[in-house]
């Protein structure tokens, strides 16, 4: 509004100037300068009003006087065929973080999870990781989910090794990040798939089931499990008798008859299924539908509750019992085992935490599970992370995290085994728990004899 005025004035002044005396011209110049300042101030105000960043910067400085939260980054499947895993994991962790935040946080600082959905696909996982590190500048990475995703993210830790950035307790039992060089950047709580599969193979062999076939997801996760089975069998002098695969993301309603037929031909004594809950449930459904009652063992990653839920739902409409001879290896004890203080604490805090996952992360409605192995694992992950953060001498230096972790010895998470870390081992737990379905619930297996051959 003042802008067009100014040149007009100056033109006018120039016209006057030529006619008036020198003393008068000085007075006029002074007046001009004062006018200019008024105009300048007005323009500045307009600029400030228009530019939100400037205002934001100003207000942030003014408003946030309290301590900054500890931002931790998470990339997991919140959509797609494995979304219940991501959601459960997030909810379990948040139950504990919420509790910690409510009780004053870490040295007064709250813990905030910055979570992104990768849909259980490698490329979004890489994208999310970069974004978390570069843009969100999270303090650490936490609760990543899935082997194919994590396996592909691993090289980024080499890229950011000078920062450095660490990944705490990914929800995968794959081998890569348990080995050099990535074991320097990734710290695990849960046992590996190798340990899970080796346990399963050992138990099957013990009861005389020597012909073992593998149904697996044809990716790094499946390969990892397959590798574990193969190695254990080889160690005992056996081979995988048959194998069938499915593609990652295959949903429950798909037919798995082809895979069932392939494995049937191999006449196995037992099947170890390395997949996610939708495909594994589908496989079980089709195997049982074809009157094949061979024992089928799933790994912890499967998401036992979700798998059972699908089978029970189908069972209700078809009348077939799909839950016979199902075995599930777990890396945490059953949340039904309330004798354990950790389970008790989990159930209390999980009950207390009734917030739904953020809608921008989970766009489709999700049937909240009261308890699950996955959310229990998430809870345990959170609890251990809080311990490390609390132990860490300086929360502004990431390097402290590693040494703090390596100094955790014989830490009690409230489970039946203590958590042990050192410079050589970056994996906290090694114990595998075996479950089976009884009366539509997962219960611990006390004896394998029921499946003896």
């Amino acid at each position: 509004m003042n802008y067009p005025y100014e040149p007009k004035f100056s033109v006018k002044s120039r016209l006057i100037k030529s006619k008036i005396s020198k003393r008068d011209s000085v007075t006029i110049a002074m007046k001009l300068i004062s006018k200019f300042f008024v105009v300048f101030a007005t323009l500045l105000c307009i600029c400030l009003l228009i530019h939100p960043k400037l205002v934001y910067a100003q207000s942030q400085q003014l408003i946030y006087a309290e301590p900054q939260p500890i931002k931790i980054g998470m990339s997991a499947a919140f959509t797609g065929a494995s979304r219940s895993l991501g959601i459960e994991l997030y909810q379990g962790s948040m139950a504990y973080f919420d509790y910690i935040n409510r009780s004053g946080g870490i040295k007064g600082r709250p813990i905030v999870i910055q979570a992104y959905d990768d849909g259980y696909n490698p490329l979004p996982a890489i994208q999310n990781t970069t974004r978390l590190i570069e843009k969100d500048q999270v303090f650490l990475l936490f609760n990543y989910l899935g082997t194919p995703t994590v396996t592909r993210v691993l090289p980024l830790f080499i890229k950011y090794q000078n920062k450095p950035i660490f990944l705490f307790f990914p929800f995968t039992g794959a081998q890569s990040h348990r080995q050099s060089p990535y074991n320097q950047f990734v710290f695990n709580l849960r046992p590996s798939y190798r340990e899970e599969t080796a346990g399963l193979v050992k138990n099957f062999l013990k009861i005389g089931r020597k012909k073992i076939a593998v149904f697996y997801q044809i990716d790094a996760y499946g390969r990892s499990g397959w590798d574990g089975v193969k190695r254990q069998l080889k160690a005992e002098g056996f081979k995988i008798v048959g194998e069938a695969t499915y593609r990652r993301g295959t949903e429950y309603h798909s037919s798995f008859k082809a895979q069932v037929d392939i494995l049937k031909k191999a006449e196995p004594d037992a099947i170890i299924s390395i997949g996610s809950y939708q495909a594994c449930a589908g496989f079980i459904r089709d195997a049982r539908t074809s009157n094949w009652d061979v024992p089928i063992a799933n790994l912890s990653f499967v998401g036992s509750e979700s798998l059972l839920d699908l089978l029970l739902k189908t069972s209700r409409s078809t009348g077939i019992d799909y839950t016979q001879n199902l075995i599930n290896s777990q890396v945490v004890p059953s949340y039904e085992n309330i004798a354990l203080p950790g389970v008790k604490e989990y159930r209390n805090l999980r009950d207390a935490y009734q917030q739904k996952p953020p809608p921008n992360l989970v766009p489709e409605p999700y049937q909240n599970l009261p308890y699950s192995f996955v959310s229990f694992e998430g809870f345990l992950n959170a609890k251990l992370l809080v311990k490390i953060l609390q132990d860490s001498p300086n929360l502004s230096d990431r390097k402290n995290l590693k040494t703090t972790l390596e100094n955790i010895h014989d830490f009690d998470l409230g489970l039946d085994v203590p958590v042990e870390f050192n410079a050589q081992s970056h994996q906290g737990l090694h114990k595998i728990y075996y479950m089976t379905v009884k009366d539509n619930h997962f219960v611990p297996i006390f004896s394998w004899k029921q499946w003896s051959k």
Binding site: T151, I218, T245, I262
Partner: protein, 652 residues
């Protein structure tokens, strides 16, 4: 759109050519594309396989299989890859992408197992075409890891995909070429069409001009060659139109001339050899031959043999030189009769002045010729008769000459008598109170004019008369009259009526005796002391006053001709004319008033009165001479037929 045939052909040829080019190009490009794409595809597969093999070489020893799996999973996302699998040095598949399981063909094969010690190591990939259930045809590329020491990588590429790609590329190419083809065809069609339109306009123009329509004008739309052609055409049409119009006129004229010629003349055309190529109806009509008979024949057909060889040689000589020959020819008709034709032969010459045909225009003159022959015969006869007549005439002439001489002598006597009897000048001079001048000139043949002046006892009696006819007889009558008048004068105191009646009886009776039918007009004037009494029928009496004023006195009712009848008393009357000093009368005969000049114009009474009026101041003698001079000048060299008599009487 009506299209010019030439351009239609060109268009079809162009379209066919385009089509052939399009088909050949398509075939070639499909073949080329196929070869190229397959090679590229294999290359891609090979480089891919090798890259996997290289990246796997350290993973195999170092990493868990899931790492290899993760890396091959990435490659699987590349379009066209059916499968990837890695086998270790034992030939065992340690990572693969098969769903639901490893195909039979790879499950139990140990083909790629390398005997590390026995065989030479190679890093060259092995390419096989395989047919695998669930994948269809694939290109299997097998690449050794670490030259086979660590195992092998297999990558399967879908044939289906490459076929699909080739098909798509082919379709695109063919579609593009087809579009191009259609486009070019359309453009060509339109172009050819527009050119065609112009050409068709030109052709239509030519056709219309052919039909004689010179009003057609082509609208020039362009300045290209066709446009220029159209302009040239328009100009040409304008010129041709002018030519055609003048030609039409010429033709019209020519045809009119031909029509006229055909109507009036016998026309025929012959070529150089004299063979007839054209004859008109008149020729046929006159010769009695039909056109068919005449054409392709020579004029020998109508030769009458009337003219000799020399005649015809002369004719041919003339016309072969290119000159026109004119002449009359006698010809013979088919029926053997003869006819004459006035003939003009015109040689026609071409642009090199070479005679190429002859046109003969003939007019029938048979009638004229026959008439001429008859006339000639008549003339001969008449000439003969004339010769006889001539002899007779010359004899008669001789007789006539002799007679004439004799008559001439007689007339001379009569003339002499007539002259002798006239009053002498001294006689006239002696008359008191009157100045009188008399003149008489007899004609070659004596006319019988009479005048006399008698002076007795102060009475002057003047008589003037004219006898009918000429010759001796008339002269004799004049003399008799003079004698009778003198006789009666001498008697004295006789009144005018008695005078004339007596005179009439004397003459009448003498005429009866002479057995002559002649008579005379006669007026008698008696002057005494300024008064004249007039009686008797003759010419008008001219009374002239001293001032020159003229009065005419008609004498028709004063008497009858003398000698015509026995008794004229009842018819005689008398008038009196008073004369003062200087007044006078002039008497004359018709020899003056009827004197003719070269144009046979009479001298006339008016002229006479005029000359008298002009000269009245002179003496009677001078007046008389002036009048006679004037009459003679009127007559000129003409022959004088009648006697001339003039009498001027002037009172002193």
């Amino acid at each position: 759109m009506k299209m010019s045939k030439l351009l239609k052909k060109a268009l079809i040829a162009a379209v066919i050519l385009f089509a052939i080019i399009a088909i050949l190009t398509s075939l070639f490009s499909v073949w080329n594309l196929n070869t190229y794409l397959v090679a590229e595809y294999k290359n891609k597969g090979m480089s891919l396989t090798q890259s996997i093999a290289r990246s796997s070489s350290h993973l195999l020893f170092n990493s868990p299989y899931e790492t290899i799996q993760a890396s091959i999973d990435d490659y699987l996302e590349i379009n066209g890859i059916a499968y990837i699998f890695v086998e270790d040095d034992q030939g065992e598949i340690i990572s693969h992408t098969f769903v639901p399981t490893i195909p039979e063909i790879f499950a139990n094969h140990n083909l790629s197992t390398v005997n590390l010690l026995a065989e030479e190591l190679t890093e060259t990939p092995l390419i096989q075409d395989l047919d695998i259930a669930g994948f269809g045809r694939v290109i299997d590329i097998q690449s050794p890891i670490l030259a086979g020491v660590s195992g092998q990588v297999h990558v399967g590429l879908y044939w289906q995909l490459i076929e699909h790609q080739i098909l798509i590329a082919t379709l695109k190419q063919v579609a593009m070429i087809a579009l191009l083809f259609i486009g070019i065809s359309l453009i060509t069609y339109v172009l050819v069409g527009s050119i065609s339109q112009d050409l068709n306009l030109l052709i239509e123009g030519v056709k219309r001009v052919e039909k004689g329509d010179y009003e057609f004008n082509i609208a020039v739309r362009d300045r290209n060659e066709i446009g220029l052609l159209a302009l040239a055409f328009n100009r040409m049409v304008a010129t041709v139109s002018d030519y055609a119009k003048s030609l039409e006129n010429s033709l019209k004229q020519l045809s009119d001339i031909k029509y006229a010629l055909d109507q009036s003349s016998i026309v025929s055309i012959a070529d150089l050899t004299g063979m007839i190529t054209y004859v008109n109806d008149k020729f046929c009509e006159i010769s009695g031959y039909s056109q068919e008979e005449l054409i392709c024949n020579t004029y020998n057909l109508v030769n009458s043999n009337y003219h000799g060889v020399e005649f015809y040689n002369k004719l041919w000589e003339t016309i072969t030189l290119g000159d026109i020959w004119r002449g009359e020819i006698k010809n013979k008709t088919k029926t053997g009769t003869y006819y004459w034709v006035d003939t003009t032969i015109v040689p026609f010459m071409d642009e090199f002045a070479h005679v190429f045909q002859y046109l003969a225009i003939q007019t029938e003159i048979t009638d004229r010729k026959e008439l001429q022959e008859k006339l000639e015969a008549k003339v001969k006869e008449r000439t003969k008769q004339l010769a006889i007549a001539n002899e007779e005439i010359s004899l008669l002439n001789k007789q006539l000459k002799a007679e004439n001489i004799r008559i001439g002598a007689e007339l001379d006597v009569a003339r002499q008598i007539q002259q002798l009897i006239l009053p002498k000048p001294e006689e006239l001079e002696g008359i008191q109170g009157l100045e009188i001048a008399g003149f008489m000139e007899p004609a070659e043949e004596v006319g019988g004019d009479y005048y006399d002046v008698l002076y007795t006892n102060d009475v002057v009696t003047i008589g003037i008369g004219d006898v009918t006819g000429h010759g001796l007889e008339s002269g004799l009558l004049m003399v008799m009259t003079q004698t009778a008048v003198r006789t009666l004068k001498e008697l004295q105191k006789i009144d005018s009526v008695t005078f004339l009646a007596t005179l009439n009886r004397v003459i009448y009776k003498n005429m009866q005796r002479m057995n002559s039918d002649k008579n005379l007009t006669l007026s008698i004037l008696n002057y005494s002391q300024g008064s004249i009494s007039l009686s008797g029928q003759h010419e008008d009496v001219i009374v002239v006053r001293a001032s020159g004023e003229i009065e005419l006195v008609d004498t028709m009712d004063l008497g009858l001709p003398i000698g015509l009848d026995q008794e004229i008393t009842n018819f005689i009357d008398q008038v009196t004319i008073e004369l003062n000093s200087g007044d006078g009368v002039v008497l004359y005969t018709d020899g003056i008033t009827e004197a003719r000049d070269i144009n046979k114009t009479h001298y006339g009474l008016d002229r006479l009165c005029d000359i008298i009026h002009q000269n009245w101041q002179f003496s009677a003698q001078e007046i008389q001479q002036a009048v006679i001079k004037n009459v003679h000048s009127h007559i000129g060299e003409q022959r004088v037929f009648d006697d001339i008599t003039l009498l001027v009487i002037k009172q002193q």
